[in-house]
């Protein structure tokens, strides 16, 4: 019953901001409907902004991306978010940084995308230490910087003990699974350029350093995946540089354009230098 404990007894920060139109200034229905949990102003971002975006002008990310994160998460160790690029944005996103402002390690992950990723569709999960904004800062190939974010009510997820069973978490570290999602209505095709969707799952406790060892008050040293490289044949789909704000058993669901190579290769490395590599033959389109 720790779950109710994970919910801060803070006064509810209900954000009832009205839906915003898509930067047009006109009173039209925005393409992304009502956002229930708009980002809020906070101290942490002032320092983070330069680290993440330098002095770049931050454009309204809602114009090119839709971003989904829950208003409230009941499992603060597993807060899902998804980023979906609008199909008519006309931009190629080259880099994306995910930030949880008020986490002890705010930069959750930085992704560098290869051209085969096309319009970015990416979902993952983060830990939440205290109520905070989560934001995605996207740099386009043409040098613009867009930002989009949400405020999520969740707390306690960084010190939550990993896993249901620590021994299992340690003994299965590095196992991977790749799930393919197939549109049942789509015609099976091997054609290059076909958009495919997969979920990469990696078993790793992603220790935060805020968890305590057995029978002692010592902390388990932080140990998390700091590098993941996903390739389709020889083409890089994405490289991720990660921190411990990414949840235990990191999961990345994404879309990409097929190049016909037939297999995805994943390289993952953690902060202790342990390396894990797997190759997954693709069944889609076969």
């Amino acid at each position: 019953m720790k779950h109710q404990l994970a919910i801060a007894a803070c006064a509810t920060l209900l954000l009832s901001l009205p839906a915003q139109a898509g930067g047009t200034g006109q009173f039209v229905l925005p393409p992304y409907a009502t956002i229930q949990n708009q980002i809020v102003a906070g101290e942490a971002w002032k320092d983070l902004r330069e680290m993440v975006a330098g002095d770049a002008k931050l454009l309204d990310g809602e114009e090119i991306l839709s971003f989904d994160a829950p208003v409230q998460a009941f499992d603060a160790a597993t807060v899902p978010f998804s980023i979906s690029q609008r199909s008519n944005s006309g931009k190629r996103i080259a880099e994306l940084t995910v930030v949880v402002d008020d986490n002890p390690m705010p930069i959750a992950a930085k992704f560098e995308f290869g051209a085969l990723m096309g319009d970015i569709h990416l979902e993952s999960r983060v830990r939440y230490d205290v109520f905070s904004n989560i934001r995605a800062v996207a740099k386009t190939a043409s040098g613009e910087t867009y930002m989009v974010g949400r405020f999520v009510k969740a707390a306690g997820g960084c010190s939550t003990a990993v896993s249901r069973d620590l021994n299992v978490a340690l003994s299965t570290m590095g196992q991977m699974k790749l799930k393919e999602f197939r549109d049942p209505n789509a015609v099976s095709t091997k054609a290059e350029g076909t958009v495919r969707e997969v979920q990469l799952m990696i078993r790793h406790p992603n220790f935060t350093g805020m968890q305590v060892k057995t029978g002692t008050l010592d902390y388990i040293d932080p140990r998390f995946l700091d590098k993941v490289v996903v390739k389709l044949g020889d083409d890089v789909l994405f490289r991720m540089t990660g921190g411990f704000s990414i949840s235990e058993n990191p999961s990345f669901r994404f879309k990409f354009k097929d190049n016909g190579a037939g297999a995805i290769t994943v390289y993952a490395r953690d902060t202790e230098g342990a390396e894990f590599t797997h190759t997954f033959p693709l069944n889609s389109g076969v």
């Binding site: 019953m1 779950h3 109710q4 007894a9 597993t78 899902p80 939550t160 305590v212 999961s251």
Partner: protein
């Protein structure tokens, strides 16, 4: 017999707390030992100081003792409230109790705070002067364990599943911080997490004197450290949070393991059970049916969503929503259960 009440202060918060002795004391014994006991306690609890102390006859402490029902001779159950943990209830939300043999007492679970555990301790002492030899913890969750120190002071050995100690140690800091925040300084006053002394790897029988309790540790289900206690004398199994009634089940282990365990509840001759939450007595094994039904449907819906390719964020918006029925605290626990179920079952 007399109990020692000590006014303890931490910063500006002062409250009178009961400090148990390993054996019941009469007035003279209580007064002779009180300085050593209160000084010893303060030494072990950083920041606290003694403001006053007195020895009081147990008979005058009735209003502070937990209300218990003797569901069978020597078998006492205290029903926790079905509501969120808060300052007013001091975290008295879990079912607890004690079993009295010819020679000793075993207490089962300790509540969320020292305050709640003291009430249970006084309930024991108002019924018997036998030594409290065991505190049996059904699992790690703070609403069942954070009051444990009171019984340690009363001389009990703290026994749980073999996996309990590590599970609690790794969560001690988070549990302490969260409970303190939820209960507030007053209700949390004096609470300090202590770990189990010994673990049961599989099963073990303990004897309270003409009364044997069968302890059984289980593979990961509600948590990875669930322990059931079978009191043959009263034909009752203490299920801990393997069984919820009224209060929405809370998943913090393995939905697959939990369903398996409840589907295979052994016909061991028991007639009654004590669920972890809700009414203090139900039929064995049928009392597990609502929990099993909820978990089975939750697993089915989760698997279906995963199979349909729904992402976690999408699935969370609907999994289990139609299972509300009469469950209390549903909006808080169901989404979390759905998250746990999803991240477990997506690896299947």
């Amino acid at each position: 017999m007399f109990e020692l009440l000590v006014t303890l202060c931490l910063s500006t918060v002062c409250a009178e707390r009961v400090l148990p002795a390993a054996m019941p004391t009469d007035k003279a014994q209580c007064e002779a030992s009180m300085n050593a006991r209160s000084t010893g306690w303060v030494k072990a609890h950083e920041g606290y100081r003694v403001k006053g102390q007195r020895c009081v006859a147990i008979e005058t402490l009735d209003d502070r003792a937990a209300k218990t029902t003797e569901t069978s001779p020597g078998h006492f159950v205290h029903e926790g409230l079905v509501e969120p943990v808060g300052p007013k209830n001091a975290g008295d939300i879990a079912n607890t109790g004690f079993i009295v043999g010819d020679k000793a007492v075993a207490v089962i679970d300790a509540g969320s705070s020292r305050k709640v555990a003291e009430a249970l301790y006084l309930a024991v002492r108002s019924k018997t002067q036998l030594p409290i030899r065991y505190l049996l913890l059904t699992h790690m969750h703070p609403d069942h364990t954070l009051g444990a120190e009171v019984f340690k002071e009363a001389g009990a050995e703290i026994v749980g599943s073999a996996a309990l100690q590590q599970a609690m140690a790794s969560r001690a800091e988070a549990y302490t911080a969260n409970l303190k925040r939820l209960l507030g300084d007053d209700a949390f006053h004096g609470t300090k997490i202590v770990l189990s002394d010994r673990g049961v790897a599989d099963s073990e029988t303990i004897d309270l004197g003409q009364r044997e309790l069968e302890l059984r540790a289980h593979p990961t289900a509600h948590t990875n450290n669930d322990l059931t206690i079978y009191d043959k004398t009263s034909s009752t199994v203490w299920m801990g949070d393997l069984v919820f009634l009224t209060h929405t089940p809370a998943l913090d282990g393995s939905i697959v393991g939990w369903i398996k365990l409840l589907s295979e509840l052994r016909k061991n001759g028991a007639k009654h059970m004590v669920p972890g939450h809700g009414p203090g007595r139900a039929a064995y094994p049928d009392g597990a049916k609502p929990t099993l039904g909820y978990l089975t449907s939750l697993a089915q819906q989760t698997r279906k969503a995963i199979k349909a390719g729904e992402s976690l964020n999408t699935a969370l918006k609907h999994i289990g929503q139609d299972l509300r029925g009469d469950w209390k605290e549903f909006d808080e626990f169901n989404p979390r259960n759905a998250t746990s179920a999803y991240v477990e079952l997506e690896w299947e």
